[in-house]
Amino acid sequence: MALPLAMSAAGVVMILAVVLIVAALVFYLVSVIVALRKITAGLDQVIAGVGEIVQKSAPVNGIVTAINQQLDAGVDALEGLLVKKAGIVDAVGLVDGLYAGAASAGFRTFPDSATVKPPRIAEVYTRGTLTLARLGREAPIAAANPAGAVLRNVEGGSLAARLLYPEIRQSRPPQLPRSPVIGTDAPVQYEQREDIGLPRKRLPARASAAAAESAAGASRDD
């Protein structure tokens, strides 16, 4: 009688262990199934988004290629026109002046242009410098090498700018000739000739030459 009871106790423990294992399997596998369903739903959203991306980006390649072809044609035409009108050297210098360092790349349709040393034909001056140059005030155009030190010192800017001018301007002599005053109220009125408005004392050169020629003709006739 003891043996069957002992066997049944061991069987009960065995059944209990199996039930526990099955319960663990059920719990974790159901949890995995729930997680996989969430993953499936997320992947559905991903596929929808990627599908839209593929659909929207499908024509991009062709359109961008066409735009690039048209831009390449425009660049080739403009480069050809520039080289034709300005010459290869000046064209390279102009491009390098506008885009510093672009001369090293050269023109696409002119491979030899990469070896051309760009002339400095596109120096950019300020409006004040150009105004002084037009007025003949000895503007410091090309007074220094652009590759050298900075001309203008931010701390002593006035002095640095003055140093660019000739010595007579720097030293500021006390009796520097004053600029002339012009206008009707000026202390010195120019064009003070008294013969203005009066009859001419001498004929113009053209009229006197004609008179001399006619006199010479009359003497030959005699």
């Binding site: 043996l3 002992a6 066997m7 061991a10 069987g11 423990v13 065995m14 262990a17 199996v18 526990l20 294992i21 663990a24 399997l25 719990f27 974790y28 596998l29 949890s31 995995v32 997680a35 996989l36 969430k38 993953i39 997320g42 992947l43 959203q45 991903v46 929808a48 988004g49 990627v50 839209e52 991306i53 929207k56 980006s57 024509p59 991009v60 359109i63 961008v64 066409a66 735009i67 048209q70 831009l71 044609a73 425009g74 035409a77 403009l78 026109l81 080289v83 034709k84 009108k85 300005a86 010459g87 000046d90």
Partner: protein, 86 residues
């Protein structure tokens, strides 16, 4: 009888913990994928919205064509007006 009990002990002490450990690892791996997939879905949706302007490339192509045509006409006129370098 002793073997029976030994089997019970092995089942409870060895098999059950191993099964639980393995299933727990699978569950954690599956749960770790979920936020990643949701992040990818969000990024894909944002990328799709970013490409809404891709349709305007057709307009860009048309404008580029017109611009190049205008530049070509202007260049042709300059070719007639200006003298050649050589």
């Amino acid at each position: 009888m002793i073997l029976w009990w030994i089997g019970d002990v092995v089942l409870l002490v060895v098999v059950l913990p191993v099964v639980v450990y393995l299933l727990r690892g699978v569950l954690e791996a599956a749960r770790s994928i979920v936020p990643s997939v949701q992040s990818i879905a969000t990024v894909a949706a944002a990328g799709s919205r970013d490409l809404d302007a891709a349709a305007l490339l057709v307009t860009t192509q048309d404008q580029a064509t017109r611009t190049i045509a205008g530049v070509a006409n202007y260049g042709g006129s300059l070719d007639l007006i200006l003298d050649d370098a050589s």
